[in-house]
Symmetry: C2
Subunit: 347 residues, 2 copies
C-alpha cells in the first residue's frame, strides 16, 4: 500500500465546455479506514454526462462539487482494508469513490459485486447507474407496449443502448439517433435497433424530422429523452396521441451556461412544445435515478439475466490512466466516445 | 314552431384575435328530426376558450369548423319534437347544438338533464364540460394530497373555480391567479381560495413569481395549467420536486397564430422548462377532456352533491341573445367575463 493516493479535483468552474485547466491532478494522503469503513483500490471509474452538471454552481438536484474537491463519480475496485463485516480484502465493490486512485467509504455505502453479473465494469454501465436509468425510465414512465415505436438518442451510450435493447426485447420498433455512421452501425448490428439515424447527416431539426418520420411510419409512442436540443425539436411533432416522454437528461444543453436558454437567439420553442403536449395528450416525466434506488434490485433481477444471456449487450470505451480522465470526459461530452466511457485506473 | 332558425357561422378564419367580421348571423331552415333524432329549442349556450382553436385551420385534436358552417359548442334547451324513446317534448337536454337557436341531433348524443343538478345552465359549466375538465385533470393527473399547494389561473372561470374548490375541499392550500381585483375578491370570498393574485398588477413574469412565492411559502405541488404564457413562466421555477402539471389549455397563446412561438422575439424558454422538468422531477400531462367521457358519471356522482350542498359554488356571466355571442366570446378570450360565460338564447 502506497502512502499517498492520486485524485483529480475541480480546479475552477468551467465556462461552457470544460477545458484542461478546469481540472487538476494531485496527490493526497492515503486515507485510513475508520469504524465501519472500507478502503478500496480503484481499478475502473465511470464517466457520465451528469458530472458536467456537478461542475456548475447552479441550483440543481445535487450539490455541486466544491472547488479543490475531488470530482464526483462512481467507480469499482478491490477492497484492500476493511472495518466492515461484509467486506474483506480481495472483494470487489462499487462505490462513489470519485475520480481517484483510492477511496474510503462506510461499508454500508458500498455494493459488493456479484461475479454472476460479468466483468466488474458492468457495474459502471449496463448493470450500474446508466443501465438502471434506462431500464427504470423505460419501464416506469415509458410504459412500453409491443408494437409501439420508441426513439432514443445517444443510442450507443449506456443509457440509450439499454433503453433500445429492452424495448426491442419487449417487441417495440426501436429507432436510435447517434453521432456518426460507425455508431449507427453499432446500434443496428450489435444492439439490434431497427434503424439508427446519424444526426450529423442532417443540417437541422427539420431535416432530421423528415428522416425520422420515414423511420417511424406509425409515429412515435415513446421518446426517451437524454439529449434534448435538435433531437427533441425533431421528434416532438412526431409523437402519437398518448405518447410518453421520460426525461433523464439533456446533454445537448449541458454546456449552455446555466442552461438558461437558446444560445443562437432562435425563437421561443416553448409554446409549440406546450401545445404539442396538450394536443397530443403527452405524458412527460422528469426523473433523477437516485430517487429510485429502492428499485435497483428489481432492475438487477430483470436486466441481469438478459445481460448474462447476451440478449442485452454492452460496449465499453476505455481510457487508460486516471490522468486521462478529464480528456476522456471532455471527449465524451462531445459524443467522441464509442459505448460506455470508462477510465481504467489500475489493473 | 317557427319555420326558420337562427345560427352563427364562421364567416372567415381570424387573424389573431377574432373580430366581428369573422362571424355571421344567418337564418336557416328549421330542421325536421329524422329517425332517432330530437329537435331542441336552445335556451342557453356555452362559450368556451377551446372554440378559438376550432376557428383555425391548424392540425389539432379536433377538426376545425369549416367556413360558412355553424360555430361549434354545447348548449341546453327544451325538447320540442322527438323521435327517440328517451326524450319527450318538455324535457331539457344538453347537446352539441352549436351557436344556434335550435338543434337537431340523434337522441343518443344528448344528455337529459337531472333536476337534482340545479339550474339547467349548470350543465354548461360547473357540472358540464368545464367542471369535468377541472375535476378530472385535478383528480387524475394532479393527484392532490392534503397539505399540498395548488396554483390555478383563470381562477374564477368554470375550470379554475372547480379546480380550486375541489382542492380546498381536499385540504390543499389553493392560490389563484385572475385578471383584476374584482375577480380576485370573487375567488377568495365566494370560491374560498386562500389567496388570489391579480396578474395585471405585475409587470412581468418575474414580478408575478415573487408574489406567488410569497403566497406559496411551501412551494407549488400542483400547477393546473389552463393559461400558459406569463403565468407558466412565473410558476415553473416554484414547482416542488415531484410536482404535477395537468395541461388542459393555454388561453394566453390561443390568439398567437398557429401558436408557433413567442411573438415578442423573446429568448427560447424551452431549455429552461425542460431543465425544470428534469431537475424537479415534474410530471406533465396533456389531456383533452373528450377522451375521458367514460368518467363523466364518476364526476357527476362526486361533484354533483358538492354543488347541490353549496360546497362548490358557481358564478355565471350571461350575455343576452344569440346575436351577442360573438362579442361575448371575444370579450371572454380577453378575460372580460366574470364567471362562466353563457349566452341566453331564449327563455
Amino acid at each position: 500500500m502506497t502512502e499517498t493516493m492520486q485524485r483529480i479535483v475541480l480546479a475552477r468552474r468551467p465556462q461552457g465546455e470544460p477545458v484542461d485547466e478546469d481540472f487538476r491532478l494531485e496527490e493526497a494522503p492515503m486515507p485510513t479506514p475508520g469504524d465501519g469503513e472500507v478502503l478500496v483500490r480503484v481499478t475502473n471509474m465511470s464517466l457520465d454526462p451528469y458530472m458536467r452538471g456537478r461542475m456548475d454552481d447552479a441550483k440543481s438536484y445535487a450539490k455541486p462539487v466544491e472547488i479543490d474537491h475531488t470530482m464526483e463519480g462512481g467507480a469499482v475496485g478491490e477492497v484492500i482494508a476493511s472495518n466492515h463485516p461484509n467486506f474483506a480484502p480481495g472483494d470487489f465493490a462499487f462505490g462513489m469513490f470519485g475520480w481517484a486512485s483510492h477511496g474510503c467509504l462506510p461499508g454500508k455505502e458500498l455494493r459488493k459485486l456479484d461475479p454472476a453479473h460479468g466483468p466488474v465494469t458492468n457495474a459502471l454501465g449496463v448493470l450500474g447507474m446508466p443501465g438502471f436509468t434506462g431500464w427504470f425510465g423505460l419501464m416506469e414512465y415509458g410504459r412500453p407496449k409491443a408494437g409501439e415505436t420508441l426513439v432514443v438518442a445517444a443510442a450507443t451510450g449506456p443509457v440509450g443502448s439499454m433503453v433500445g435493447q429492452m424495448a426491442k426485447d419487449l417487441g417495440l420498433r426501436v429507432v436510435g439517433i447517434a453521432g456518426g455512421a460507425e455508431k449507427c452501425k453499432l446500434a443496428k448490428d450489435t444492439f439490434g435497433f431497427d434503424e439508427c439515424l446519424d444526426h450529423r447527416a442532417y443540417a437541422n431539426a427539420k431535416a432530421l424530422r423528415a428522416a425520422l418520420q420515414e423511420a417511424c411510419p406509425n409515429g412515435v409512442d415513446i421518446y426517451f429523452e437524454n439529449v434534448a436540443g435538435k433531437v427533441l425539436e425533431a421528434v416532438l411533432p412526431l409523437m402519437n396521441v398518448g405518447g410518453r416522454i421520460p426525461v433523464c437528461g439533456m446533454i445537448a444543453w449541458y454546456n449552455a451556461g446555466a442552461l438558461g436558454g437558446n444560445q443562437q437567439g432562435e425563437k421561443d420553442q416553448l409554446p409549440k412544445m406546450w401545445r404539442t403536449i396538450l394536443v397530443n395528450r403527452l405524458h412527460v416525466h422528469g426523473f433523477i435515478i437516485s430517487d429510485h434506488f429502492a428499485r435497483f434490485p428489481d432492475f438487477l433481477s430483470d436486466a441481469g439475466p438478459r445481460v448474462a444471456s447476451g440478449k442485452i449487450k454492452t460496449v465499453e470505451d476505455v481510457a487508460e490512466g486516471l490522468e486521462n480522465a478529464p480528456r476522456a470526459f471532455m471527449n465524451m461530452l462531445k459524443g467522441g466516445n464509442f459505448g460506455k466511457q470508462i477510465v481504467k485506473v489500475a489493473d
